[in-house]
Subunit: 276 residues, 2 copies
């Protein structure tokens, strides 16, 4: 999937919503535990009820890994199911991998061959060597951590160099040249919505994956105001606010209504920007 | 395992060698492919033939993940086997994870509960939030990327701040205060042996995991000269130079002799430093 196709999906769905599949065996509704694969059953019902309003799904790898091999089986079935019911969405592995050489090449193989993801989140600390094996795949994306919304982001991301450029700005400047705008996205935390206009000066054309709407307290209107570009350029993620909106047997229906609410708000911003 | 116990293992084995289990289905001897779990069988024979000379094993997660769920089964069996045949060694998950909050807590659960690792490599980009869930486990280690030996390490790790401190130095300074020297190690690439003396000024007491002896071209003598402290303070890794020294049916025997060679050299440096 390239940038044009992603924008087409956004216009079709009238949404730039990414649903984060942070699927936790301890949090899913209890009645699902009688299924052979409760995590897949949870994901399947969430996907079936939300995909009309969604352009992206983002399984968070830690949730699957923590279950051992069976978690990876649930993950694989989830990716296949998304592909089947909604072929136009982008499927993101939120894995935050970051290694080099043949190790990095095997991470790329994991997510682009063993599993059928379109995109992977990557950590920039080791530089281009982390990302280059991922760039060898056509129509796949590397989503690089730039500015995160957690408290300790300031430990290193805000350190300014001799030119008064913060580390996260150096990441944006350097990493956008590693590939084209069909290949490179950035993670930018939503609690820093005002920082988005400055980020757009550095990286006007790249898609931004913005986590943190909902449980982490981001403001969708601000994100749209400061972050949108002529291809929309935003994927805004919500995880817990959708998938755990109800812990009862109506969870899929409640997830649908939460997703639809966000889609309606997103449609408004897309119209205001004259993108649809 | 704490620092004292690790030093005890080093004195017992007269070695500070870590064997990297970068076990690749395409590189292991062909006769192993008839086994039900070829990767485990390869690891088992490597472990059985090398553990006398070794204080650490480091499975590289990418190699296991790229095989999907079955790779995680091989990984789990490998960890159990190491624990059984050589309970005094430290088992390191070379995973380079880096996330925050409940996601990071689930990565800690993966490696310290679902699997029985002693230590995990972690990326520092998101700051303390990445590491803190790992610190909640007693007798477990967080091994934080500081200075890596790859070419593009210079993309960000060498960026100097207003005080002329490089990013990797800021990581060493900041992260050593996140936990004590029983909890925090650093990854320092071996191709920068001369940088080790400067690193020892910043972090005199932390253990350093030094990859890159062998295939990546590090020099063991230099590493020992500049990096050793009064607890040895070094785990020096070799992967391909040991496990792929032969691709024939004698691979385990050849791995043993390569490991023994390194152990003998390490014993010399430990004696010269009057640590044994």
């Amino acid at each position: 999937m390239n940038r044009k196709q992603l924008f087409k999906a956004i216009k079709l769905k009238r949404s730039f919503l990414c649903v984060g599949l942070d699927s936790d065996i301890n949090k899913i509704p209890k009645h699902l535990l009688s299924y052979e694969d409760p995590i897949f059953e949870f994901n399947r019902q969430i996907i079936d009820s939300t995909h009309k309003y969604t352009v992206a799904y983002k399984p968070n790898l830690a949730f699957y890994e923590s279950m051992g091999a069976s978690g990876w089986v649930s993950l694989g079935k989830t990716v296949e199911h998304i592909r089947k019911v909604s072929p136009e969405v982008i499927i993101i592995a939120d894995a935050k991998r970051g290694d080099i050489g043949n190790t990095s090449a095997l991470y790329a193989k994991t997510f682009f061959e063993t599993y059928d993801f379109d995109a992977v989140t990557l950590a920039p600390y080791m530089g281009l060597d982390t990302v280059s094996p991922f760039l060898n795949y056509d129509n796949k994306w590397s989503i690089i951590l730039a500015l995160t919304s957690n408290k300790s982001a300031s430990d290193f991301q805000y350190i300014r160099d001799n030119n008064n450029t913060a580390l996260y700005e150096n990441v944006l400047k350097t990493a956008q040249d590693w590939g084209n705008t069909d290949q490179i996205m950035f993670v930018v935390g939503a609690t820093k919505a005002e920082a988005l206009s400055e980020i757009r000066e550095i990286a006007p054309d790249n898609f931004l994956l913005v986590p943190g709407i909902g449980a982490q307290g981001g403001n969708l209107q601000e994100v749209a105001k400061y972050g949108m570009n002529d291809h929309c350029g935003l994927l805004v993620n919500s995880s817990r606010g959708i998938i755990y909106a109800s812990s009862e047997s109506d969870f899929a229906m409640v997830a649908e209504s939460k997703t639809k609410e966000l889609q309606i708000e997103m449609e408004k911003y897309l119209k205001e920007a004259k993108l649809i």
